[in-house]
Structure formats: C-alpha cells, structure tokens
C-alpha cells in the first residue's frame, strides 16, 4: 500500500522542519557580507538542489518504466517530476527575492545560473502538456518516459556547463570555492534533510491519493456493472493510469 508509513514520515518531516527553522534563525551566525539576508540561502539552496535531484530521479524512474513496462514506475516518475516542478517554482521565487535584496534586481539575464535554471524549469513545464496531448495511456507513458530520461540527462549537463562558465555573480554555496563555516554547513545540511523529507512526504501523499482514487474508480465501475478492467472510461488526463490492484510504496 502506498500509504504505509505516511504518518511517521509526516511527523518526522514536521520535526525536521522545526529543527531546521530553529537552527536557521537562532544558531547559524550572520554572514559577514550579506548579514541577515543570507538566511534565504537555507531555503533557496535546498529547494534548488532537491528540485534538480527530483528531475534526475524522475528520469531514473522512467528508465525503470521502459525496462519493466510496469506502470508504477511511470506513476513514480510523474509524481516526482510534478513535485520537482513545484520546488523549482519555490526556487525561482526565493531566488528572485534574494536577488532583489542583494543586487537590487528581481532577475539578471546575464547571470548563467539563473537563466540555466529557468531553462530547466521551462523544459519540465512542457512535461504535463506533453502527457495531456497523448490520449492512449500506454503511448502517453512511453513518450513521457523518453522525455523524462532525455530531460533528466540534460539537468547534470546543464549544471556542469554553468560551473565551467567563468562570468557569474551568483555565489557558490557548495564546492571548493565556498568557505562555509561548520555551523552554517550544519544548518544547511539540516535544512536540506528537512526539505528532502518534505519532498518525500508530498510525493507519498500524491501517490497514495492517486492510488486511492484509482481504487474508488474501479469500485464504481464494478458496482455500476462494468468489468472495471479498461482505463478507457477515465477520459483524457495528464496523470498516468494505475491499476487499482497494484500494491507498492515509494
């Protein structure tokens, strides 16, 4: 069942989020140059990293789907990409807020980090319309998997290309050029774990909701005299069709 362990995961997420917020505001020291504004990084950086990792994970799940033809992998890929898109929106908004506070502009078009992230976001923004454009569920799942793999491979390439670029204003939080003190690194790590847990919880909620909905639909078909086997009656949808009898967790 998809809902197994959901309660403990939710409690863990709330506890981790509370700890992360306490560390951000009452433990991590103020940064010498940016001062209090640097606190945005503890939400912005984890959001960006988790969104990008989620896109890559969606590609890996899509590979598993193409190898096994198991619709559960397609569902996982869809949900992970869906959540990553939400996290990417959060990244863009928090990044813009930081840029306004630090640089005095909401957006800087000459900055490769910002523009490359926007390109990745716009690329994945076409994922849902692509799915919606294909009516046949099997073909939809197959094409979406191919898209997820191609776009998932583009994400690390894009990241490396930006790292290799010489002219950037955007600070490097991780890597050899950053000299993050221990307390700040710990706070960033806890924030990253907390937001990763939030991501996992939201994915699990989504999977549980979709699976329950599929079960309710199947029950309705059975009670109304349909055999409940064909997904044809579901209408056009961007979401993958999952057979109600499938049992799995994230």
């Amino acid at each position: 069942m998809y809902g197994r362990g959901l309660r403990s995961l939710s409690i863990l997420t709330v506890a981790a989020m509370a700890l992360a917020l306490a560390l951000v505001f009452f433990y991590a020291p103020l940064e010498a140059e940016q001062g209090f504004l640097q606190k945005i990084f503890y939400v912005h950086v984890p959001l960006a990293i988790i969104a990008l990792c989620g896109f890559v994970l969606g590609g890996l799940f899509a590979i598993a789907h193409l190898r096994t033809r198991d619709p559960r992998w397609d569902m996982r890929s869809y949900v992970v990409i869906h959540m990553s898109l939400i996290f990417a929106i959060g990244t863009l908004i928090t990044g813009s807020i930081w840029a306004k506070g630090s640089w005095g502009h909401w957006w800087v078009w000459s900055e490769p980090t910002l523009v490359s992230f926007l390109i990745v976001f716009l690329l994945y923004a076409t994922y849902q319309p692509l799915r919606f454009a294909i009516e046949d569920p099997e073909r939809q799942a197959r094409y979406a998997s191919v898209f997820a793999i191609t776009a998932g491979a583009f994400v690390p390439m894009n990241f490396i290309a930006v790292r290799l670029s010489t002219a950037y204003l955007h600070p490097r939080t991780l890597g050899s050029s950053s000299n993050l003190p221990g307390s700040m690194a710990l706070t960033l790590l806890v924030s990253m774990v907390a937001l990763a847990l939030l991501f996992a919880t939201m994915c699990k909620y989504e999977l549980t909701a979709k699976h329950t909905r599929a079960q309710v639909r199947a029950l309705r078909r059975r009670l109304s005299g349909d055999d409940g086997r064909s997904p044809a009656g579901r209408g056009r949808s961007a979401a993958p069709s999952l057979h109600p009898s499938t049992r799995a967790g994230l």
Binding site: Q34, I97, R213, R220
Partner: protein, 82 residues
Amino acid sequence: MALLLAEVPALPLNEAGKYVAAAYIVLFVIVLIYVAIMAIRLSRMERDLAELLELSQQSDSEHEDENRAASSIEPRAESSAV
C-alpha cells in the same frame, strides 16, 4: 514560552528582514496550497465513497428483493406440480 523568547537572541530584522520573511512565506504558502489541494481531493473522494456506499446499498436491496421473489415463486411452483 515567554522564558524561551527571553532567552533566544533578537533577530536583526532591518532592511533584509522583509526579504527573508517573504522567502520563508513563499515556502509556507507552497505547503499551504498543497495541503488545500489535498483537502479538496479528500472531500471529493469522501463524496465519491458516499455515492458508492449508496450504490452498494441499492444493489444489496435489489438482490434481497430478487431472492424474496424467487423464494415466493418456488413453493407455488412445487404445489402446482403436486
């Protein structure tokens, strides 16, 4: 709570305060919107389940009626055969 608030260091909420607050509010709003969407879905599913329960009760009562009708026909058929 008052003791805790007295112990924690004061936050330097100067010019940067509004930007930091805005960034964290964004995260909070994202979670809030997601919870609201889940609540809407849950209520829709609850409504669907109530409909299904009604459907199953209807089909149960139809089955009962059929069984009753069948049991009332059978003895008559037996007596006419005798």
